[in-house]
């Protein structure tokens, strides 16, 4: 049994209605609980409209619990786009196959040029991204890991969903984390926004974190793309997924991101569900109250002003200086990008701001020595939840 079975037990519109019906008393009960005892029903209350007047209280608690667990530190990382070739047609993405943009797969020379530019920026944690295509499959990714592993402390992936055997190989080659965002847990919206290509298979994507856990991947990142359906229900399903992973694959760390839709090529006709900054803060704080240990990440999709204020409300890692187009660091051009970023400050500028706020920017919080030893144990640990 995988997460799809659990997910099928909850009907998206019914969940949305249940959250909408939460009362002030429900919110007070959730806020009164000890930090190890919040239930999924409490999470629903914290995500509800009834929680809006309690946002400051949620933010204070979220800040306090984050400092207790993670200290006054902020992990900095950068994305490295290896390719924008993609076989999917998705309504919200600049890489969508139907968009007539130049396609690129970085070769060795280009990858090393990007690596050199990132290292010069001080980056030690790098997230490797691609579109979904057999042309950037397992062999290409293994090759990229071999090129990059000597140069960085931590390499993670945000690539197409793959199989347990692929993840075991990546682990052996020095990859320690995989982010795989469901985009939407609403089956109707999923079908509406994923028109063609392998990504149209919702179930395969839903159970990708299971396969990561079975392969012993050390960190599993999940999340929804806010703006495709009812954000409150999306966030609740992320919480359901989080609890499931924590129970089944307890050796893996977890992280959550909160991407909101950004402008991109080909987005003219898109009808979006509104998701304001105030609501994003509500989601961030609700997750921190729900889990003191989950890592929460905030990307450059958000504005400098928002990030400068919101980072202390539960966030543990931030990207900085990001380019979302393959070759973007070495070439400094902005064509071919997946989405346009909002906070365009350099990593040094972001780090300097964090320091003025009494936070220590952390460039390295991993070591490649810890990677590559998972094969034997992982094989033993592969079992259904």
């Amino acid at each position: 049994m995988g997460f799809e079975t659990v997910w099928r037990q909850h009907d998206f519109p019914i969940v949305a209605a249940r959250i909408a019906g939460k009362s002030t008393a429900d919110v007070r009960r959730a806020l009164g609980r000890g930090h190890r005892s919040l239930t999924l029903d409490d999470l629903a209350a914290l995500l509800s409209p009834a929680a809006a007047p309690f946002l400051e209280e949620m933010a204070q608690t979220s800040h306090q619990r984050t400092v207790e667990r993670f200290g006054r530190t902020m992990q900095l990382y950068a994305p490295l786009y290896l390719s924008n070739v993609c076989g999917n047609v998705c309504t919200y993405c600049g890489f969508s196959a139907q968009n007539r943009v130049e396609r690129l797969i970085l070769d060795d020379e280009a990858i090393l040029a990007e690596a050199a530019a990132l290292a010069k920026m001080g980056m030690q944690h790098v997230l490797l991204l691609t579109g979904e295509s057999p042309r950037v499959g397992t062999d290409y990714l293994v090759h990229a890991l071999r090129l990059l592993r000597p140069r960085f402390a931590s390499l993670s992936f945000e690539v197409q969903p793959l199989d347990v055997g692929d993840y075991l190989r990546f682990g052996q080659e020095g990859m320690n984390a995989v982010m795989v965002y469901q985009e939407t847990y609403d089956p109707a919206a999923y079908a509406r926004h994923h028109l063609r290509g392998p990504k149209a298979d919702m179930g395969f994507r839903l159970e990708t974190p299971d396969r990561l856990g079975q392969a012993g991947v050390k960190k599993i990142g999940i999340g929804a793309l806010y703006g495709l359906s009812d954000w409150r229900a999306e966030a609740w399903f992320v919480g359901l997924h989080l609890r499931y992973l924590e129970a089944c694959y307890w050796r893996s760390r977890t992280s959550i991101s909160f991407p909101r839709l950004r402008p991109h090529a080909g987005d003219d006709a898109l009808a979006l569900s509104p998701f304001a900054e105030r609501e994003l803060v509500q989601v961030m704080c609700a997750f921190r109250l729900f889990s003191q240990e989950v890592e929460l990440s905030l990307s450059t999709r958000e504005s400098a002003r928002f990030r400068d204020h919101a980072f202390r409300l539960g966030i543990t890692s931030m990207s900085a200086g990001s380019r979302t187009n393959p070759g973007g660091y070495a070439q400094k051009q902005s064509s071919l990008e997946q989405f346009s970023i909002d906070d365009s400050r350099s990593p040094d500028e972001v780090a300097a701001y964090l320091r003025t706020q009494g936070y220590q920017p952390v460039w390295k919080d991993w070591d490649g020595t810890y990677d590559g030893q998972i094969i034997e144990r992982a094989a033993r640990e592969v079992r259904a939840c």
Binding site: E68, G71, K218, W363, Q373
Partner: protein
């Protein structure tokens, strides 16, 4: 009573307060807190420092002549990863001292006793001075000492929890039967917790979260230093035993002292 230094693997330590270096808001704040604590032994997470010889912002704020470094293996999940990390730490930080932490559970960071015992045995054979972080398990602590641990570091409470000596009953047994120094680690959230640990007879305590996340870390470091000193002095002075109720001098045996009845 004269205070004697703590000796671990032949090294004398005059401060019985060990500090962690994580969670501080800045390098200078960490440096000043360490100085205020009077500590001589500080843990450094291997994962946080550059092991390739590049400039490192954490190490830059640690004065090498002042502190002995105790690299920790935070992040490893089993004996194999622990041994690789230990070898790298010895190479990169030029010390064979090691705080062995193996927690396969990243949520509560609970130490794995089976892997820790196995790794301790292997690392001791490789010449490491091993200080394993473990549950407050008296049998395990005995086994670790036999396996070559230079000291044991049982937890007072879940790491970072500030709950104090939640494991007190088991710590008392560990202290009573100690074969190597006992450093109480994790969960000490207030100077009074540290003082209580030292009054129980702990050889030292290790503190990080309570100092690093205090509103004023430097002042809190000083407070912990005073508490550790007070607790140690109290232990050495010989605490009177406690009793739950007032006790008359000899109600049951006084008759023995009285003259025989005629």
């Amino acid at each position: 009573m004269k205070a004697t230094p703590l000796t671990i693997a032949g090294v004398e330590l005059h401060s019985r307060l060990f500090l962690g270096t994580g969670k501080f808001g800045s390098g200078p704040l960490m440096r000043d807190s360490l100085a205020a604590s009077g500590t001589q032994l500080v843990t450094v997470a291997l994962r946080r420092v550059r092991t390739d010889g590049a400039a490192d912002d954490l190490l830059a704020h640690l004065e090498p002549e002042r502190y002995r470094l105790l690299p920790n293996t935070s992040g490893v999940r089993d004996r194999h990863e622990a041994i690789l990390a230990a070898e790298l730490a010895r190479e990169a930080l030029q010390t064979n001292w090691l705080k062995l932490e193996i927690h396969p559970d990243p949520k509560y960071l609970m130490p794995d006793p089976i892997e820790t015992l196995a790794a301790t045995e292997q690392l001791a054979k490789r010449g490491f001075v091993v200080l394993p972080y473990v549950h407050a398990d008296p049998v395990l602590c005995r086994q670790l000492a036999e396996a070559g641990a230079a000291a044991v570091m049982p937890l007072g409470a879940p790491i970072g929890s500030n709950q104090g000596l939640a494991s007190r009953a088991f710590l008392e047994i560990i202290l009573a039967q100690r074969q190597v120094p006992v450093v109480i680690d994790a969960g000490l959230g207030a100077p009074s917790h540290a003082a209580a640990a030292m009054e129980m007879g702990a050889d030292a305590v290790l503190v990080n979260t309570a100092i690093a996340t205090a509103a004023d870390p430097v002042a809190m470091a000083r407070a912990f230093a005073l508490a550790v000193e007070a607790g140690r002095q109290g232990y050495l002075a010989g605490l009177p035993s406690r009793t739950e109720e007032a006790r008359a001098s000899s109600p049951l045996t006084a008759f023995l002292e009285q003259g025989q009845e005629a």
